[in-house]
């Protein structure tokens, strides 16, 4: 535990000196905020826009950590750590914790800007937001680390990340509201982790849902976190020349099992889609501007 904390502090220091990290963790999420609020807030209200903006910020963890782990392995940095009495668990947990600690200020900043610049009417259930943001950040970081455990080069990681990221972005309600997506996409969406994050955030922010109300979303994310972390720890490779076995690839593919099970259950129940619809129907849509001619 002591090593995890030591590494977490060190990783935070390193991240703060990395321009790419600052761009992807601060500048880009804020750009999403301004873009989303500027274009869509007038139609659906700032609260409904802020939820997917927060979700996108949280989902960014998927990219950063996988690339960093593969880079460290390719450059032989992990090898140097391997000589010290540090385990794979400490290496992975520290990257997840440091990423979480650095994501939170951006989330707070987005909330603050939404309130003061875009006239956010309600914070929603802040405890719920905090728990979902926490679980989401950890889940997407752990998913990224699982990808990194089966890829050998940064280039390969980028290709796989892009494929998964595209599905996450456009099939989950993170960019277009889930109720507005075609039915076949809605059927696919229930199998994807971001759908649970976005729907959960919409519900706690727009509908002021309680933590108990969003227990299914929280359980989905918590299950994903535990499964992904366990698998990435089992498949952790220190050496660039260590080959990825077929068994390892199957283990990595097993990361989707919790979402597969939950997705099947959701497909039968339809609860998630009903919840997404309820949040959409309860929008704090601003009233159209009064006719100036009268």
């Amino acid at each position: 535990m002591r090593h995890t904390w030591t590494l977490t502090v060190n990783r935070m220091q390193l991240a703060m000196r990395n321009r790419a990290f600052l761009f992807f963790s601060l500048i880009m999420p804020l750009a999403f905020l301004f873009l989303g609020m500027g274009i869509f807030a007038r139609f659906v209200g700032p609260t409904y826009v802020l939820a997917p903006v927060l979700a996108l910020t949280v989902m960014g963890s998927f990219w950063g950590l996988s690339i960093q782990l593969v880079t460290f392995r390719e450059q032989g940095i992990l090898r140097r750590f391997r000589l010290a009495p540090v385990g794979a668990g400490a290496m992975l947990a520290s990257s997840i914790l440091s990423n979480y600690a650095l994501t939170l200020p951006t989330i707070v900043l987005e909330f603050a800007l939404a309130k003061w610049m875009f006239h956010l009417q309600s914070w929603g259930n802040l405890w719920g937001v905090w728990i979902l943001v926490t679980l989401g950040t950890v889940t997407f970081a752990a998913l990224g680390l699982t990808v990194a455990s089966v890829t050998n080069t940064v280039q390969e990681t980028q290709i796989i990340n892009n494929l998964i990221w595209t599905a996450f972005l456009f099939l989950s309600g993170a960019t277009v509201p889930l109720p507005k997506l075609p039915m076949w996409i809605q059927n696919v969406a229930v199998f994807l982790p971001p759908t649970y994050l976005v729907t959960g955030l919409h519900r706690v922010m727009v509908l002021n849902a309680t933590i108990w109300d969003v227990r299914a979303e929280m359980l989905a994310l918590a299950g994903g976190t535990l499964f992904s972390f366990f698998i990435s720890q089992q498949l952790f490779r220190w050496e660039p020349e260590e080959k990825v076995t077929r068994r390892a690839k199957l283990w990595a593919a097993a990361t989707i099992i919790p979402f597969l099970l939950l997705g099947s259950w959701e497909s039968a129940q339809g609860q998630l889609r009903r919840d997404a619809r309820a949040a959409f129907d309860a929008l704090d849509r601003p009233k159209p501007p009064a006719d100036q001619s009268h």
Binding site: H3, L14, L83, E239
Partner: protein, 306 residues
């Protein structure tokens, strides 16, 4: 004699079709500087990495400080320090941060500030790793190997690719560690490094240990003869050169004739007379005392750098 700190018995390791180690065995005593000398691909790094616990041997037995690197890996890490052939750290990590960070992982630790001073890195204290020169990076790697005040140190090619001045600085550091009675296993393909720093040297080639002893013992094996390396304008008969007065042996290596002589002045005179009579001329002539390179050439018929 006390129990050796390092024990290696009949070690084998294969990478696909390549046999990296073919039954390597040796012991290293406490406080000894032991060198593995051999060309690239000889199996030196594989041996060291097995001892560090980074690789698993196919067969054979290894003990470091009485511990099995595979079974007692975590325990062993507190007893050893290592500078890898290519140490890498994040570009934006400061020198002092690297030392402090790694020191925190160990039960026993040295003061990072003292290590900075010892390795001449005080001025680079707050520099990023990415801003250091090759020599500075290597000095930091050696300093990091000492953060836990280890019993055994592994230095894998510690001076490879460094300029002669930096190399000499690193030699001074290793000699200082030797005076402190640290046990050191060093791999190198530099003859002078092995001769200057090591109490005993194992010469390895193609995964096998082909000679073992003190540098002096090994050099005596080559007959304690002076070595004259000549290059000629025209090819000469090896057997004729071997029979010249004062010459005990002759080999051809990379187009040069290596003459081993008990009496160098007499050998040179007879060589010059022979060349005049044969209408041949000297292009170059180098005289050297026997070195470990001669031992290697004698045993393998090749130079170390080949």
């Amino acid at each position: 004699m006390s129990t050796p700190v390092l024990q290696v018995e009949n070690l084998t390791k294969r990478y696909g079709e390549v046999e990296a180690l073919r039954g390597v065995s040796f012991d290293v005593q406490e406080g000894e500087v032991f060198g593995l000398l051999g060309p690239n691909g000889a199996g030196k790094t594989t041996t060291v990495e097995i001892l560090e616990g980074l690789r698993r041997p196919d067969s054979g037995r290894v003990s470091v400080c009485g511990l099995d690197p595979q079974r007692n890996g975590q325990e062993l890490k507190h007893e050893i320090g290592a500078a890898l052939q290519a140490t890498a750290l994040p570009e934006k990590m400061r020198v002092i941060e690297a030392l402090r960070l790694f020191a925190k992982f160990y039960k026993r630790r040295r003061n990072p500030e003292e290590l900075l001073k010892r390795f001449g890195l005080e001025e680079k204290r707050n520099a990023f790793y990415g801003q250091l020169s090759g020599g500075q990076k290597q000095r930091l790697a050696l300093a990091m190997a000492l953060v836990n005040d280890p019993r055994v140190l592994f230095f894998d090619e510690p001076t490879a690719g460094l300029d002669p001045q930096v190399r000499r600085e690193i030699y001074d550091v290793i000699e200082e560690l030797r005076r402190e009675k640290k046990t050191i296993l060093l791999t190198t393909h530099y003859i002078e490094e092995a001769e200057r720093l090591c109490d005993r040297v194992a010469i390895v080639d193609h995964g096998k240990m082909i000679a073992l002893g003190t540098p002096r013992e090994l050099k005596q094996r080559s007959g304690n003869t002076t070595r004259i390396e000549v290059r000629l304008t025209k090819p000469a008969s090896e057997s004729t050169l071997k029979n010249l007065d004062g010459v005990t042996d002759c080999r051809v290596l990379d187009g040069a004739y290596i003459l081993h002589c008990q009496r160098p002045p007499q050998a040179i005179v007879s060589l010059v007379k022979h060349l005049e009579a044969d209408g041949n001329e000297l292009v170059s002539l180098e005289i050297s005392t026997p070195s470990l390179e001669d031992v290697f050439i004698e045993l393998t018929g090749r130079r170390l750098r080949d």
